[in-house]
């Protein structure tokens, strides 16, 4: 397991990243009509960001 305080710090960082990704400014940016591969922009953004964040968390806590 990697050094615990590094993991902790990274998790906090990811948490803050998440807060930003799913918060007001970025949401307003993606609140557009239109589609991406047939999927509405906002919808696609939300789920893509979600998946990416989860993947990052998985990498951080894996550690070993």
């Amino acid at each position: 397991m990697r050094d615990p305080s590094t993991v902790r710090a990274r998790l906090v960082a990811l948490f803050l990243l998440g807060a930003v990704l799913f918060g007001y400014p970025l949401l307003a940016v993606f609140n557009l009509p239109g589609t991406v591969f047939g999927v509405p922009v906002l919808y696609a953004y939300l789920f893509a960001a979600w998946a990416a964040l989860v993947a990052l968390v998985a990498m951080v806590v894996r550690g070993d």
Binding site: L14, F15, Y24, T35, V57
Partner: protein, 911 residues
């Protein structure tokens, strides 16, 4: 095909299967081969967060607000990132303190307060009732819809008598299963392995069902996402849903995210599966990403299904909350519809069972038991076997909660969409956040503060959310909401103090948390925590830093037997023995050899806490240990003991320091010995030098004479003279050295007699007369009359006088030199002064001249004759006789050598 009885049968069969899984898991656990010690199972059990709200309600919300249904899943996703940091601390504390519920946690943190735990229980029960009713509503609505197949229309609301109400029977059935799953027997650690296994399974079922219908709708009914959303965009009614912000405010979004972050931990069922049922802290690591992945998967098709439903049922008539079921039905897929129904049922039952088990634990441990114990009703404290009584309370609580849920559903549930009801519950459990998070990270939080905060927050929540919800359904006059009570506008529940324009949930949340946190901090800061509170505060906040368990604040006496009986009353005989054996194992002794020590009492208290809550456990153990509440006196006693221990340790410190000082002294003594050794070496070296110097001259001249027989006579005379003189010098030296050695080592012979010093002095002067005349130095003598006698060795004392006199002559100038000898009487002794007016001795040399072989005279051109041993020997002699010899002098101003001797019979002599 989809007859009511068929559906009911399938449902019961499913529930039976779930129970079967639970039973099997329990059996495996008893055999020691647990199936749930697995991070995947743990993460799936956390997914009990997704209830029929997720299953049905999300779609309903999406149909009106687009992605506005999502915040309550984003919150948990973000919270999951911090599982490893925050939740882990909670889990660790709970394991160490055998905490069995969220009420227990709060109560334990704030000084094992029963009152606080009770308040938390009340808030939890009242807060969750709406949530349970929402599950009942979902099941009964979906059941109602399904039975109408192939018609797809939401049945109009009709008031049905209770016994004919589907929801009622659902409640009864769920109560039965909840009891089966969670209240079959009492477990000291409140762990329900079977329950967890069943929940994990049902999480899979509901995910599968939802994905199934999602895939069906998106790819079966439509041609994929593109097609589906293309249709949506084309419709003016639906298009706005795709970019919802404008309708949904960002503020609301943010608040909901924050709210759900709290709910995912503080909902009683979440606390139960995440903390109480946790098997291994390490599972939290994997859960941090597995759980969000689950949430992602189950939410993926919500918007597509909502949009599809809106398109398909554009004529209305179908409640959006039921799209998930209605769509497969409308397409004629009855098996899929049935599967979906089971999925929804699964979601609802999971929630209800875990929630009611958690609530019943709290009610029995933190509400009923303390009240009964306090008021001694039913002779509770005297009953021998309480375990079955406790169990009965648990089961009763489960039934009661479900009936309350049904009651709320009946009286208020119809007016709201599912999501709205659920949010009311979220806002209730959010009240736990300040006291719990504060309790984890702030040692200053006090019991009084927690009580104030919880009470304030709960009150505001009641007023701004719960009561108005009843008004909406007609049970309280609508004017209460619209105009405020008694027409007072700024007391309007949805716009308290004029705070209008906010979503009802946001409004309530804002005010209640403000009141909560504000009261918590204020009251905590203004008050002082009690001793147990402080101990618990440290134990909790520092939990990750310490390895130690809870602090021992026990003092009392009891016997192992008494503890065994006590445990037996609540846990049953078998489990009581198990608990004691566990402790014995931990200490490495046999259970029979157990002594009633504080550790055992702690262990007993903890085991009991599992069954009746930590507050009650404390009270029970206290009564057995012959002590009431831990009052200030007892704490003082304990502190006394502690301070005694501190005093002992301080003594130890002192001893240690003394030891160190002694060691230092020894070291110094060793150093001194080494010094002395070196000095001895130096002395030997110096002595040999002094002896060899005259020898050198003797030998050299002897050899010269021998080798040069024809040396002129005058030279020969001179050389022989030198030989003789040096021989004398050598002899003198050897004698003095031996003398000094004898005196110093105490082997000299002393012949003491009573002497008249005056007489001795005159004799010495006589002996040195020649010396004085030779150098033309005058000598004068003053001897006082009536001198007492002194005890001394005549010869030695003579030696001293001769030494002093010859010295004084040596250092005087010829012609002008004057030496005065004074003999006087002082109290108890006789004093002799030899005063000369010679070159004197500089103060820095005063002690040096008494050192062996030291001769003052570097500044002189004439090397003084002498051995350098005269004065040291004189001093040794005088000292040996009980007196002291010293000098007073300044350079150029003459010198006074003085010595004293004790008179006969007065002073003591050196041995």
């Amino acid at each position: 095909m989809l007859q009511p009885w068929a559906i009911a049968l399938v449902s019961l069969a499913y529930l039976g299967a779930l129970f079967g899984i639970a039973y099997w898991a329990d059996k495996r656990a008893d055999a020691g081969r647990s199936v749930i010690a697995n991070p995947l199972v743990y993460a799936l059990s956390l997914s009990v967060y997704a209830t029929s709200w997720t299953f049905y309600g999300s779609v309903g919300r999406a149909a009106s607000d687009g992605v506005g249904f999502l915040p309550i899943y984003i919150g948990p996703m973000l919270a999951a990132i911090l599982f490893w940091v925050v939740l882990r601390k909670i889990v660790r504390i709970s394991k160490a303190n055998r905490i069995t519920s969220i009420a227990d946690f709060v109560g334990s943190r704030y000084g094992k307060s029963g009152l606080l735990a009770g308040l938390v229980t009340v808030i939890a029960v009242v807060g969750i009732v709406p949530y349970i009713s929402l599950q009942l509503k979902a099941v009964s609505a979906s059941f109602g819809l399904l039975t109408r197949y192939p018609d797809v229309a939401t049945p109009a609301h009709a008031t049905v008598p209770i016994l004919a109400d589907n929801a009622f029977w659902v409640a009864i059935v769920l109560a039965a299963f909840a009891i089966l799953f969670g209240a079959r027997h009492l477990d000291a650690a409140e762990r329900h392995e079977g329950l967890v296994a069943a929940i994990a399974f049902e999480s899979l079922v509901k995910l599968a069902a939802f994905l199934a219908v999602g895939v069906f709708v998106t790819f079966g009914v439509f041609g994929g996402f593109g097609d589906l959303f293309g249709h949506a965009a084309a419709s003016a009614r639906i298009a706005p849903l795709l970019t919802p912000f404008g309708k949904v405010s960002y503020a609301d979004w943010t608040w909901l995210v924050a709210l759900s972050m709290l709910a995912v931990v503080f909902l009683p069922r979440q606390f139960q599966v995440a903390v109480v049922e946790n098997v291994d802290e390490d599972h939290l690591r994997q859960a941090s990403w597995m759980f969000p992945t689950y949430l992602l998967a189950i939410n993926l098709f919500v918007l597509p299904i909502a949009v599809a439903g809106l398109i398909r049922f554009s004529a209305g008539g179908v409640d959006a909350d039921t799209f998930v079921l209605a769509l497969p039905m409308a397409e004629g897929h009855q098996w899929l519809a049935l599967f979906v129904f089971i999925g929804g049922l699964s979601a609802a039952t999971g929630m209800v069972i875990v929630e009611t088990v958690a609530l019943s634990t709290m009610v029995s441990n933190d509400l009923v038991m303390p009240l009964l114990l306090r008021y001694g009703a039913l002779g509770v404290s005297r009953r021998a076997d309480l375990s079955s009584f406790l169990l009965a309370i648990r089961r009763g609580a489960i039934v009661a909660v479900l009936l309350l849920g049904y009651g709320y559903f009946r009286f208020a549930g119809e007016a709201y969409a599912l999501v709205a009801i659920g949010l009311i519950s979220f806002a209730a459990v959010a009240q736990f956040a300040p006291v719990i998070l504060g309790g984890l990270y702030w040692k200053g939080g006090t019991r009084a503060g927690a009580l104030a905060g919880l009470a304030a927050g709960f009150a505001v929540w009641l007023y701004t959310l719960l009561l108005p919800s009843l008004a909406r359904s007609g049970w309280i006059a609508p004017s209460f909401v619209e105009q405020g009570p008694w027409g007072v506008a700024w007391l309007k529940p949805y716009a308290l103090f004029g705070l209008a324009g906010l979503d009802t949930i946001t409004h309530s949340l804002l005010l209640s948390l403000l009141a909560n946190a504000g009261a918590y901090v204020l009251v905590s800061v203004l008050g002082r925590p009690g001793p147990v509170e402080q101990a618990q505060a440290v134990a909790f906040v520092d939990a990750m830093r310490r390895d130690a368990g809870p602090i021992r604040v026990w003092r009392g006496e009891t016997t192992v037997e008494e503890l065994r009986v006590l445990l037996g009353r609540f846990l049953g005989r078998a489990r009581a023995d198990d608990a004691l054996a566990e402790y014995a194992r931990g200490r490495g002794v046999s259970p029979d050899a157990l002594a009633a020590e504080p550790g055992l009492v702690e262990h007993a208290e903890r085991s009991l806490a599992g069954a009746i809550g930590s507050a009650s456990a404390r009270v029970m153990v206290a009564s057995v240990v012959r002590e009431e509440a831990l009052g200030l006196e007892q704490v003082m006693d304990i502190l006394d003991e502690t301070s005694q221990v501190i005093a002992y340790s301080r003594e130890l410190e002192d001893k240690k320091r003394a030891l160190e000082a002694a060691t230092a002294e020894l070291r110094a003594a060793n150093e001194r010995l080494r010094e002395l050794d070196r000095m001895k070496d130096d002395f030997v070296s110096t002595v040999s030098h002094e002896l060899r110097t005259p020898l050198t001259s003797i030998r050299a001249f002897a050899e010269i004479l021998a080798d040069n027989p024809d040396t002129p006579a005058d030279k020969r005379q001179k050389f022989i003279g030198v030989i003789l003189k040096e021989t004398e010098r050598l002899t003198r030296l050897i004698n003095q050295i031996l003398d000094l050695a004898k005196i110093e080592s105490g082997r000299a012979e002393w012949h003491t007699e009573a002497l008249d010093l005056g007489e001795l002095v005159r004799e010495a002067e006589g002996a040195t007369d020649a010396l004085f005349r030779e150098k033309s130095v005058r000598l004068s003598t003053e001897v006082a009359a009536g001198l007492p006698k002194v005890d001394a060795d005549r010869d030695r004392l003579m030696q001293v006088m001769l030494n002093l006199l010859s010295n004084s002559v040596k250092f005087c100038e010829p012609e002008t030199g004057l030496v005065r000898v004074r003999v006087a009487c002082e109290p108890g002794r006789v004093r002799v002064d030899v005063v000369d007016n010679g070159v004197g001795v500089a103060p820095e040399h005063h002690e040096r001249i008494f050192e062996k072989f030291r001769q003052v005279g570097d500044t002189l051109t004439d090397r003084p004759q002498g051995t350098g041993l005269g004065l040291p020997i004189s001093r040794q002699i005088v000292r040996h006789l009980g007196g002291e010899l010293w000098v007073e002098s300044e350079a150029g101003r003459g010198a006074t050598f003085s010595f004293t001797l004790p008179t006969t019979g007065s002073g003591r002599r050196e041995a």
